[in-house]
């Protein structure tokens, strides 16, 4: 494989890695907001 392909793979890995982490943060936030909505009408 040429150098540019290896560079592209590394570049992609960085974006995919950061993307997965951001997605996990977003998912956790949505889950917490749903729990908050469930609690707040009660309190």
């Amino acid at each position: 494989m040429s150098d540019i392909v290896w560079l592209f793979i590394a570049f992609l890995a960085v974006w995919v890695g950061l993307g997965i982490y951001l997605f996990s943060l977003g998912t956790r936030q949505k889950r917490l907001e749903r729990r908050l909505e469930d609690i707040e009408p009660r309190s």
């Binding site: 494989m1 040429s2 150098d3 540019i4 290896w6 560079l7 793979i9 590394a10 570049f11 890995a13 960085v14 890695g17 950061l18 982490y21 943060l25 956790r28 936030q29 917490l32 907001e33 729990r35 908050l36 609690i39 707040e40 009660r42 309190s43």
Partner: protein
């Protein structure tokens, strides 16, 4: 390092820098938590550990991608690579530890001890290329930059822009993760009260 492939350096090294920064914050936050018992320090340390693991994972992925075409192998058990893997495992352990107990104070104290002891490895990772014979490139130091490290000014400029971008990304991720932790605390408190 040569050709296009050396450009991996522009995100491999800044990701390592962001991980060092994160683990230094874990260390300081853990000390502050043990001294004061204030939840905000525990949340700071926990958030920094999580983001540090993300950046170390990126380092451990991009490094072998560079090594495969240059060294002809994905991995070598040399000092830098092995100590980096140990650093990653230490902080993954730190994160796993937090799920072990339902008592947040006990978990926080235990995690803080790991956060302090785990930081011992961070300078070992950094100086491993100077202390032991390794395959890993040394990277520019202030002295080598003075003598001409092989990096020309456009490369140096690109490197420092990348370093600044990763530092800003780290700061933004920290702010986001801390606000998520605060929301989590609020939901837990409301659930206990209701």
């Amino acid at each position: 390092m040569g050709g296009q492939l050396q450009r991996i350096f522009y995100f491999h090294v800044p990701a390592a820098w962001a991980a060092y920064l994160a683990f230094a914050i874990v260390f300081l936050g853990s000390i502050a938590y043990l001294r004061t018992g204030a939840r905000r320090w525990d949340l700071l340390a926990h958030s920094a550990a999580e983001i540090g693991v993300v950046f170390t994972t990126l380092v451990l992925i991009t490094g072998p991608i560079w090594a495969r075409p240059v060294w002809g192998t994905w991995w070598q058990w040399d000092a830098r690579l092995t100590s980096s893997l140990v650093m990653w495992l230490t902080y993954v352990g730190y994160l796993l530890l937090r799920g072990l107990s339902s008592d947040p104070n006990r978990t926080g104290r235990l995690a803080a001890v790991v956060g302090i002891l785990g930081f011992i490895n961070v300078p070992i990772v950094h100086f491993s290329v100077q202390w032991w014979r390794t395959l890993h490139p040394q990277g520019p130091t202030p002295a080598s930059l003075d003598q001409g490290s092989g990096l020309g000014s456009p490369e140096l400029l690109a490197f420092f822009v990348s370093l600044a971008a990763f530092t800003l990304l780290f700061a933004w991720l920290m702010a986001t993760r801390i606000s998520l932790g605060r929301l989590n605390d609020r939901v837990d408190q409301l659930e206990m009260a209701s």
